[in-house]
């Protein structure tokens, strides 16, 4: 008789005053919630590491569910959301089946991981420690992949980037200030130093901006596999811009297109390059572009203060998914 989020009872509400759309998968078990970023709040059942969001509150943009969130909310619930946005009834219950709940759970996995681990970290500390992390730069445990439509996405751990930014001298603080004077790199990873010199020769924009900081981000193996890249990204902070490098596993060509024509490979090998974006709600995705050395390169910037730097997302879409 008690309710779990898997029972699929969803209340969809629109609150015009706040331009807020809410999804509530009603449950009688405790949930924990957090602000993902401005305009997006999500809650999850505390004891369900596989579960869907129990609550989502999102701010509409121009009266619409922003495109990237449409994918996360999913084809089952977007039409209901549009009904309540159009009114006049601003609240509506609907029932979704277990597969739709599972689709939500799969799509929101990276946010769930973040919200639930945030709760564990600040909580009563009864569960000892997590699985043993590696030491040092960037951590070694890979984040979970989220599955939406025909693609995968993940949240990258940006704590090291935030920290690097905070340690930089004042002029570097604002990302995207392209003519910032760079004199004292706060941190340099020796392991990428040599490669760096090569890169500078190839890219005149980068030549004027030495590496101020760098590090590595592990990727979900599943996502890396689908993108045909090694399951680890290298990031470099240069000239106020975050440069992200991926190493192709050779299954994709230098144009980013898979050579396989085997029908069985469709859906498991992406002909599209992965993309990155700050998770700031703007939905501006930057595609990785192959460089001459065979590595894939993307760069993104944010005007946010270092301590408020949004998380970074990476996604890979399969061939039959149309990118916005």
């Amino acid at each position: 008789m008690d309710l779990t989020t898997w029972d699929g009872h969803v209340r969809v509400d629109y609150v015009p005053d706040r331009a807020q759309l809410q999804l509530t998968l009603i449950t009688t078990v405790p949930t924990v919630e957090a602000d993902i970023r401005p305009g997006l709040r999500a809650g999850f059942a505390v004891d369900d590491p596989d579960g869907p969001p129990a609550f989502v509150g999102l701010t509409l943009v121009a009266g619409r569910v922003p495109g990237e969130l449409r994918d996360l909310v999913g084809a089952r619930l977007v039409p209901v959301a549009e009904q309540v946005i159009d009114g006049p009834r601003r609240t509506r219950w609907t029932r979704i089946d277990v597969r739709s709940v599972h689709a939500l759970a799969a799509a929101w996995a990276p946010y769930r991981d973040r919200v639930l681990s945030g709760a564990a970290g600040s909580g009563d500390g009864d569960d000892g420690d997590g699985d043993g992390d590696g030491d040092g730069d960037g951590g070694t445990s890979s984040p979970p992949a989220g599955r939406w439509e025909e693609g995968l996405w993940a949240l990258l751990a940006v704590e090291d980037l935030r920290q690097a930014l905070a340690e930089l001298p004042a002029p570097e603080l604002t990302l995207l200030s392209s003519d910032a004077t760079v004199d004292a790199p706060g941190y340099q990873d020796p392991s990428v130093g040599d490669e760096e010199a090569d890169d500078d020769d190839e890219d005149e924009e980068e030549r004027v901006a030495p590496v101020a900081a760098s590090g590595r981000w592990p990727l979900p193996p599943e996502l890396a596999d689908q993108a045909s890249i090694e399951p680890e990204l290298t990031w470099e902070l240069r000239g106020g811009v975050v440069h992200i490098l991926a190493t192709s596993t050779g299954l994709a060509t230098s144009t980013g297109l898979a050579t396989s024509t085997d029908p069985a490979a469709v859906g498991s090998r992406s002909p599209r390059p992965p993309q990155v974006s700050f998770d700031d709600g703007t939905g501006r995705w930057q595609s990785f572009v192959p460089r001459n050395d065979g590595r894939l390169h993307a760069e993104i910037g944010s005007s946010a203060e270092p301590d408020r730097l949004p998380a970074i997302r990476i996604r890979v879409m399969t061939s039959d998914t149309v990118l916005p």
């Binding site: 449950t27 405790p30 004891d47 599943e222």
Partner: protein
């Protein structure tokens, strides 16, 4: 007449008799006596009152022995018929000491609840709370004529549902205090706020609002509501069901009372809580239906939760008669179940239930399991005769007919064994196994009160329970199949993968373990090894967790046995 009873009623009544046949005899005898008594009083039973008469032969008075007290039954019948339009469904919920006012409220609430169920998508528990609150609105309050003059109860209830939802959402959207910090195993902010929204909507209807600002009013009432629900959720269950499940029934009753009346106190609130409680009795009994217990065994045999793996080589060759097999399946599925449960089973078997929902899943799975055990025994020659003296129910006939034609159609295509035929003939309860395992995990965790490190056990049990009619979880350190036609995904155990979807032609062998078998496929779906990968454990630890659970006597026990490969 047993159609009007749910499992708990039937269990209570049958406890004193030898079997359904004797029960029915008793009820018939009682009804005849009531007819005689009424005729003697000059108020003979009318043709339209037969259902009420049947209901009166079963009293809900726990002190009553049920069927033998003819005069008491006559009193009940006389009383029930004095309420115009009272249906048997409500009559069996009425107790001897209920006031007239309460019976009327119960009657109205039931009508509103049924009407709402046809047009609204609220979860039944919230819908029934508001139906109860609506029925109790008038008992101590004069409503605003403008609001309700033309509106029928059902419209009032719908308005409360809409207004309550709107208020809950508005409250959520602003930066007001969020309840939930003190709520234990049960209860979360959104549930509390939903209740608070409905309660405010009811106060508005009764002009009993303390504030003009509805959100400030809700904020002011939240702490009390939270305290009440917290107390209800931490109280030990009044009727322990096994496990450590908190008293969810008491929790909801308190919530209903809060919707119905000022801060859950006062006469209206108490009445609302009682009406809700009475109406939702069927709901809760379905979940804990005693059917998990003992039904896996034929009379005289020990209860064995461990299904026997059929002989794969001989099964497909068995000569099967569609008629006999359909009869046997229906008998195994519906033996000893009461009316409401039988209707749910028939809805499923006849294709009126959508797959991939959690509704009644426990009930249906607990029917599938004894069926597969029975069929796997290859005992089709010893098909038991139908129970004596009981005319076949329309649902039984319908199920048998539907299954017969499906089985015959399948047999026309290829010779198949009884289990394969049953699996092909019974509509799928799920179209993908993994999502259902995850859904069942949460259900089992709550049902059995599995917390802390025992949460892992819930997922293991869920995977054991999520077996199609011809599917088996098996014991032992047996790895996934070598068959190539499955799409896999990573498991919790680093490096291991698990089948999530069939992507290629063909199917793995019967004894090969494939966690992604479609519902109708015959074969093994999980093993100690694949379960260990699912939860990042070891086969031995999985085995220990299952046997520890087997010692607990939980409600999912009959569903979680593993076969010997």
């Amino acid at each position: 007449m047993a159609d009007r009873l749910d499992q708990a009623d039937l269990d209570r009544i049958t406890a004193g008799v030898e079997g359904p046949g004797q029960l029915l005899d008793g009820m018939v005898e009682c009804a005849a006596n009531v007819r005689e008594i009424c005729a003697g009083r000059g108020r003979p039973v009318q043709p339209g009152e037969v259902e009420l008469l049947a209901a009166a032969t079963v009293s809900l008075d726990p002190r009553s022995d049920g069927v033998r007290q003819h005069h008491r039954a006559a009193e009940y019948f006389e009383r029930h018929r004095s309420f115009p339009g009272l249906t048997a469904a409500v009559a069996i919920l009425v107790r001897g000491d209920d006031t007239d006012e309460f019976v009327l409220a119960l009657h109205a609430a039931h009508r509103v609840d049924e009407a709402l169920a046809r047009t609204r998508a609220e979860p039944p528990v919230l819908r029934t709370m508001v139906a109860a609150a609506t029925a109790c609105l008038g008992t101590d309050t004069v409503l605003d004529a403008d609001t309700v003059l033309d509106a029928d109860d059902v419209e009032v209830a719908a308005a409360i549902l809409d207004r309550g939802g709107e208020l809950a959402a508005a409250y959520r959207a602003c930066d007001r205090p969020r309840p939930g910090a003190s709520l234990p195993v049960l209860g979360n902010a959104d549930f509390v706020i939903a209740i608070a929204g409905y309660a405010r909507a009811v106060r508005e209807l009764r002009h009993a609002t303390g504030h003009d600002d509805p959100l400030a009013d809700i904020e002011q009432h939240l702490p009390d509501l939270e305290t009440l629900l917290h107390r209800a959720a931490t109280r030990p269950p009044r009727f322990p069901i096994g496990g450590t499940e908190p008293d969810i029934v008491g929790f909801f009753r308190v919530a209903a009372a809060a919707v119905g009346g000022e801060d859950g106190a006062g006469k209206t609130a108490v009445t609302t809580g009682s009406v809700f409680n009475r109406l939702s009795r069927g709901l809760r009994n379905l979940k804990i239906s005693g059917s998990a217990r003992a039904e896996t065994a034929a009379p005289g045999e020990p209860v064995s939760p461990r299904p026997a793996l059929p002989d794969a080589t001989s099964a497909p060759g068995t000569l099967v008669d569609a008629d006999e097999l359909a009869t046997r399946i229906v008998d195994l599925l519906s033996r000893h179940v009461a009316g409401p449960q039988r209707r749910l089973i028939a809805d499923w078997v006849c294709g009126r239930r959508a797959p991939d929902t959690t509704d009644d899943l426990h009930l249906l799975l607990t029917r599938v399991r004894p069926m597969m055990t029975g069929l796997a025994r290859q005992a089709s020659s010893t098909c038991p005769p139908p129970p004596t003296g009981v005319p076949p129910h329309p649902e039984i006939a319908e199920m048998t007919s539907v299954l017969r034609s499906r089985i015959a159609a399948r047999l026309a295509l290829e010779p198949s064994g009884p289990l394969e035929l049953a699996a092909a003939a019974l509509p799928p309860l799920w179209t993908a196994r993994l999502p259902m395992i995850l859904a069942l995990t949460q259900r089992i965790r709550l049902d059995e009160g599995l917390t802390g490190t025992r949460k892992v056990t819930a997922k293991i049990l869920a995977a054991c329970a999520a077996c199609g009619p011809a599917q088996f979880a098996v014991r032992g350190d047996v790895g996934r199949h070598t068959f190539a036609g499955c799409r896999t995904a990573p498991t919790e155990k680093p490096g291991a993968v698990r089948c999530v979807e069939r992507s290629g032609e063909g199917m793995p062998g019967f004894t090969e373990v494939c966690p992604a078998r479609p519902w109708s496929e015959i074969g093994c779906v999980d093993s100690h090894r694949t379960l260990a990968e699912l939860v990042d454990s070891t086969p031995d630890a999985v085995r220990k967790r299952i046997s520890r659970y087997e010692g607990s006597g939980g409600a999912w026990l009959g569903l979680t046995g593993l076969a010997e490969l």
